[in-house]
């Protein structure tokens, strides 16, 4: 039931809305079909980012791909928490480590979902910030990847979405943008800094404009 609902919502409604009305160019990531599990790592400027990434997922995988979102924002009220879980299929985490309750620690929550077989969407910049300007990465992604080094990550870069729906403004104004995926890859080092550098280098390669 949830699977059908998410497919209707993202593979159909959101997909055509983003492509035809908003004007974001992207291709459905059919190359992921045979990948069991992955972590999508993307830059973050807009709520539309998650929408676009989910719309680009092969519909069969959709129910298994969980965007990671901040609990203080997306789980503020019971309604928003319900919405995040049923309509975004999100994993809600705290923004900071929790040494007191290991079961609520954001890293453990993410590892837990990975161990259940889910794929994750992570925005290592943490918050949306100013459109088209990258913020320093939070280290959480590196901790997760270091604990599960066999799970590949997929860099994804989006531009223009922050102009279509920037932080602090909920009106969507169509704006030509794009979403591109890089290559699936595993981490090459166990050091947190190296992992973060690997990810940010991949995202800067995708940032360069290119002909489709």
């Amino acid at each position: 039931m949830k699977k059908a609902w998410l497919i209707f919502l993202y593979s159909f409604c959101v997909y055509y809305f983003l492509k035809i009305i908003v004007g974001i160019k992207f291709r459905r990531a059919h190359f992921l079909k045979n990948t069991k599990q992955f972590i999508i790592v993307a830059n973050h400027n807009s709520h539309l980012d998650t929408m676009a990434l989910l719309a680009a997922m092969p519909s069969r995988l959709l129910v298994n791909v969980k965007p990671v979102a901040a609990m203080d924002h997306f789980g503020k009220t019971r309604l928003s928490s319900w919405f995040s879980r049923t309509c975004i299929n999100a994993v809600l985490i705290k923004r900071h480590r929790d040494k007191v309750n290991p079961s609520l620690d954001p890293i453990n929550v993410m590892l837990n979902y990975l161990d259940k077989g889910f794929s994750l969407i992570l925005f290592p910049e943490g918050s949306r910030g100013i459109p088209e300007i990258a913020q320093p990465f939070k280290a959480g992604i590196a901790f997760v990847l270091r604990q599960r080094p066999h799970i590949p990550f997929l860099p994804a870069y989006m531009s223009g979405l922050g102009k279509a729906m920037p932080k602090g403004d909920n009106l969507i104004v169509p704006y030509g943008g794009r979403l591109v995926f890089g290559q699936l890859q595993t981490i090459t080092s166990m050091s947190v800094d190296d992992i973060l550098n690997q990810i940010s280098a991949q995202l800067s390669v995708l940032k360069k404009p290119h002909k489709n």
């Binding site: 004007g23 160019k25 102009k163 403004d169 009106l171 104004v173 169509p174 030509g176 489709n212």
Partner: protein, 313 residues
Amino acid sequence: MLNLGSFHSDIVIVVGLIFGILTIATILFATLKKLNPEKDYSELIQRTKSWWVMATVFIAATLLNNTISYVGIAFLSFLAFRELYSILNFRNEDRRAIFWALCAIPVQFYLAYIGWYGAFIIFIPIVMFLLLPMRMLVVGNMSGFIKSTATLQWSLMLTVYSLSHMAYLLSLPEVDGVVVDGRALLLFVVFLTEINDVLQFTWGKLFGKHKVVPKISPNKTWEGLIGGILCTIIFGYFLRFLTPLSPVEVVLVSLIIALAGFVGDIVMSAIKRDIGIKDTGSTIPGHGGVLDRIDSLSYTAPVFFHLIFYILY
């Protein structure tokens, strides 16, 4: 629904002509590729393929059903407008004004649909001209205000207002009891504009030497321009059965369409030069963005409309 009874035989002739030209071009480029495998014809082949799609969509949207034509042209304007403001680096504060400008599209095309000429002709140049700066004032950030209001109004004129004249052709009232066939007029101006583009391009490629505007568009040559204009006039002359114009009028109108198309083309080149990009997008393979294709139309549509309006009414 498809209404075969209202299909005039002259429209069928033009549709046949369009697909005939495309068939010849497709065969020609395929043969050239076979004969000189070392030369690169991929762009021409890609362009021709895209022409097939565009021609089919256009013919389907204009000839099958009148209401669909208005919606189709409105959507084309929307795509062109969105593409233009997306490359023009508007401020974040301009988003609300852009949203208002987008809302003007359905209104403008509705006015064309109901044939309210007075409102249609002033809605964007007067009403939106007054409203958009007002919406920007409310935001409160005045740094960049002049540039934003001017650019937004101009973008709206160049894409939405211009192209809406294509739609109004379909709403022209009858003259002295005779029905004006708007679809034939629309077909005439679109076909002539696009064939003029192709002819100027071809003449330029074959015989081009002397550049017209070397700083803006190095591919535009006097040979291409003159050869293209002459051929366009010939096409216009033989297609005059689509219009209620006399032979002399049709020659003049074709000449002006050819010149206007040329100007529209270099205006778009100038925009791209200014912001330093080659194509406005990658929506149409081989052609670039939607804007790269409708650049000439944004000049020829209003020019042709007003010539017809002046001559007929």
